[in-house]
Symmetry: C2
Subunit: 483 residues, 2 copies
């Protein structure tokens, strides 16, 4: 036994792949409900660690000393583009002399995302070379020839006037929405922003009504500017939630501090009900059964741009903290943090980004649900994406082989047991599915959902939010009537 | 020197990569005109051949005995799905008992393509697993974890009635447009044909007027059926051109017979003018300069579905043979053959397919032009694709690392030298660009293009074709007037 223990652990985890689908002869592959199966991963990654992996079994892991930097970030290091404090003044003076590019709020969210390394190994807004790879292959080739996943184009658009102002300059200063100098983009490249092609290839539709398209891309300029990013100081929002915004490096440190030997990430942009909680607790139980000593849950709500009818971030964060206060999730084994990315609602394309960013933050297990990052078709009465494509595409995605995909087990309200439980098709009639729309209707009308649907503290947060919306609406209507 | 000579040659060729772009600080990367540069490829392919490649130089190749199976087909073997003659009768009887799926002419072209291994390692119409990988990643993961390029979904659509007729059967018989039993699709899988998503992700637009969409996809059924293909006998068209339709295996044999040590493929769907010929002859000259002893040109016109205003295949083949008869291209070092694929006009997505199929046929160099597989935007006054994206995307495409990309050098009519010559920007005014539209106008009006634009024999073929069109039109108009 000449290998170090760290290698044992990494190796073991890279070797696992939890898959849950069975092939149905004719129709789509059906994912069975969370019947965990472990199979060895094919050797694919070009990193020496995985190529030379020894055969390991669960027992040998049980007896290992655990280190929680469980999974390599894409490209080997978590990118950090915040300039050291010692250089800040000098760089600020330098940036002041450069042509300026004004950022929107959403551009700033992307600056935040890139600067902290969620998109590692990406070191700035994409140049055309990266943009085309992302658009056509959902991945980038690294210098050593291996692929990292990169499904969303992370780009900065500028208008004609800005392009003219830049002229032949090599570097530009980035200015936040409030006029503050935020950072520098170096060795820039300006190229065409073919919006139609970007939209078609990212969303698989060009139908009007896609939130990110309508609110971001349509208003954006016809040029994209790529380059190497430097951020003058960490991005803060001063909204009382910055303490929740842990960077990938901070999260990795926290996993280490807690001596996690598995980290399972749960991406969400909705309130947590007891069905979610059941799933997360059950995942932890199963990971323990598999021999992990201390699986840690990363409860990781998305904090960037969301569509108008989603519950706002501050309300969600309050709701999530009630869920922990009420003991539905165990604070000892849960980290609640905000994922700063804007939301695209781009289904199978976007779920890869959601997973890849969590790999960079140290998660080696990723829970994926029905229709992840999906929404209704904007002009037709159907889901925009096949609800099963998200988990299928994720499980096939180049560059994500090292991540263990945990498909979502469907939970519903068990009207006999009077609690959220995993759906049992043999007694389907006894289950009640409470959709997001249904939940919102309950909250708006002040009607209580069935006992056990959500912890009372969390529910109260939602009721108060929808009450406040109604009184705002009433005020608005009154104002209209009075005008 | 313990390696065999064959390994030397393969290795050497895999090591070469001919690139031609320089980075321009701000704007798009500009491809310079054919300044061949050789750089070592990054080690990426997982095949032991490339991983353990020794460093080689051109001199060591010069002295090698050459074998022309120059490049490995994707997946290691050229797929051949034509059943052996000894089994044909038995399989035909078996197929007769299966539910039937009727093929359109274009479906049959795809059966042809798949059965001969152009799409190796694909062994039939795509199941959902392959379809999703093609759509999202433009490549397929093979069993050993390596990627092969696969940018176009190669799928078979069926209507509701056919799906019902198939019921729970595992295998179906494929019936050609003339009612003849063509083959078998085994272990079938039927899944949704989301046309909008397929179109958006393949073409990067959903604008009406895409030829393959209007004439194929829109009319097709809402289900896709995937499975393993068996073809009862080789596909023939009986149009007097079948002798031009060499399979990838036949082409590889022919390259061997001719002792080719480099094969450079030229995909086209237009008549060959002297500018093309100049490029092809110049490519051969440069390959000779690089140390190759016998570079062979694969002049490889596309023979499947094309849009209505393209010159028909039989006319093009006649024109091409005149070009060889007139000595513009050397028959000794040129193989003219038909590529049986239908045309998508899907630009950067399709050019990968065009290149990948030629790899399977043994080509290790691929000439790529401006806006390959592109067309005008169907509803806007612009090219549908950025004319440079094709060669850029091709040079980045996962699974095509082993292919050497030769960007097209622009030729135009030199009004001083009175011949087609490589465009010289320093005396731009002395060059005349003769577009396809301009060429067709010449041919239609009977006006001669400038001397030296095309060999007289080839030009005559075109003039006759357009004359015949006009007399057809005249007859049609007369018929309309008379009715």
């Amino acid at each position: 036994m000449s290998l170090t223990i760290k290698v044992h652990v990494d190796t073991h985890i890279n070797d696992l792949n939890i898959i849950q689908y069975q092939t149905n002869r004719h129709n789509r592959r059906k994912f069975t409900n969370y019947d965990l199966k472990i199979r060895p991963r094919p050797i694919y990654s070009s990193s020496p660690l995985t190529v030379y992996r020894p055969k390991m079994n669960v027992d040998s892991v049980r007896s290992s000393v655990i280190k929680s930097s469980l999974i390599e970030p894409d490209g080997g290091v978590v990118v950090d583009l915040v300039v050291p404090e010692s250089e800040r003044e000098l760089k600020t003076v330098e940036a002041e002399s450069m042509p300026r590019v004004n950022l929107t709020n959403i551009d700033l969210e992307w600056v935040h995302v890139i600067s902290e390394g969620w998109a590692s190994p990406l070191k700035g807004f994409m140049r055309e070379n990266e943009y085309l790879q992302s658009l056509h292959f959902n991945c980038l080739k690294t210098k050593d020839g291996s692929l990292v996943n990169m499904s969303l184009p992370i780009v900065l658009a500028i208008h004609d006037e800005t392009k003219e102002r830049i002229g032949s300059s090599t570097n530009v200063g980035l200015v936040g929405p409030d006029g503050e100098l935020i950072g520098i983009l170096r060795s820039i490249e300006i190229y065409n922003h073919n919006k139609e092609e970007r939209i078609a290839r990212t969303w698989g539709t060009t139908a009007p009504g896609l939130p990110y398209v309508d609110e971001v891309i349509t208003l954006a300029g016809n040029w994209l500017i790529g380059g190497d990013l430097e951020v003058l100081k960490p991005i803060k929002y001063n909204d009382g939630l910055d303490h929740y915004r842990l960077s990938p490096q901070q999260l990795r440190k926290e996993f280490d501090r807690r001596q996690a030997d598995a980290v399972f990430a749960f991406q969400l942009r909705n309130p947590v009900h007891n069905g979610h909680a059941l799933l997360m607790n059950d995942t932890r139980r199963r990971l323990l059964e598999m021999g992990f000593k201390n699986p840690i849950l990363l409860l990781h709500p998305l904090g960037g741009f969301t569509k108008a009818d989603d519950v706002p971030l501050d309300v969600r964060m309050e709701q999530h903290s009630k869920v922990l206060e009420d003991g539905v999730l165990d604070p000892e084994t849960t980290i609640v943090s905000i994922f700063p990315s804007p939301m695209h609602y781009a289904g199978p394309t976007e779920v890869q980004w959601h997973a890849k960013a969590r790999v960079n933050a140290g998660a080696n297990f990723y829970i994926v649900g029905r229709d992840p990052a999906g929404m209704g078709h904007p002009t037709e009465k159907r889901d925009l994406y096949d609800p099963d494509h998200g988990k299928k595409v994720l499980s096939m995605a180049p560059g994500l082989e090292k991540l263990n995909i945990l498909p979502f087990r469907v939970a519903a309200y068990d009207t006999v047991e009077k609690k959220m439980a995993f759906f049992d098709p043999s007694r389907a009639k006894e289950f009640l599915f409470i959709s997001g729309t249904k939940m919102r209707t309950y909250a708006k009308t002040g009607e209580n959902p069935p006992d056990g649907f959500m912890c009372p503290g969390g529910w109260k947060v939602l009721v108060n939010y929808y009450k406040s919306l109604q009184s705002e609406e009433a005020t608005g209507q009154a104002a209209v009537l009075a005008s």
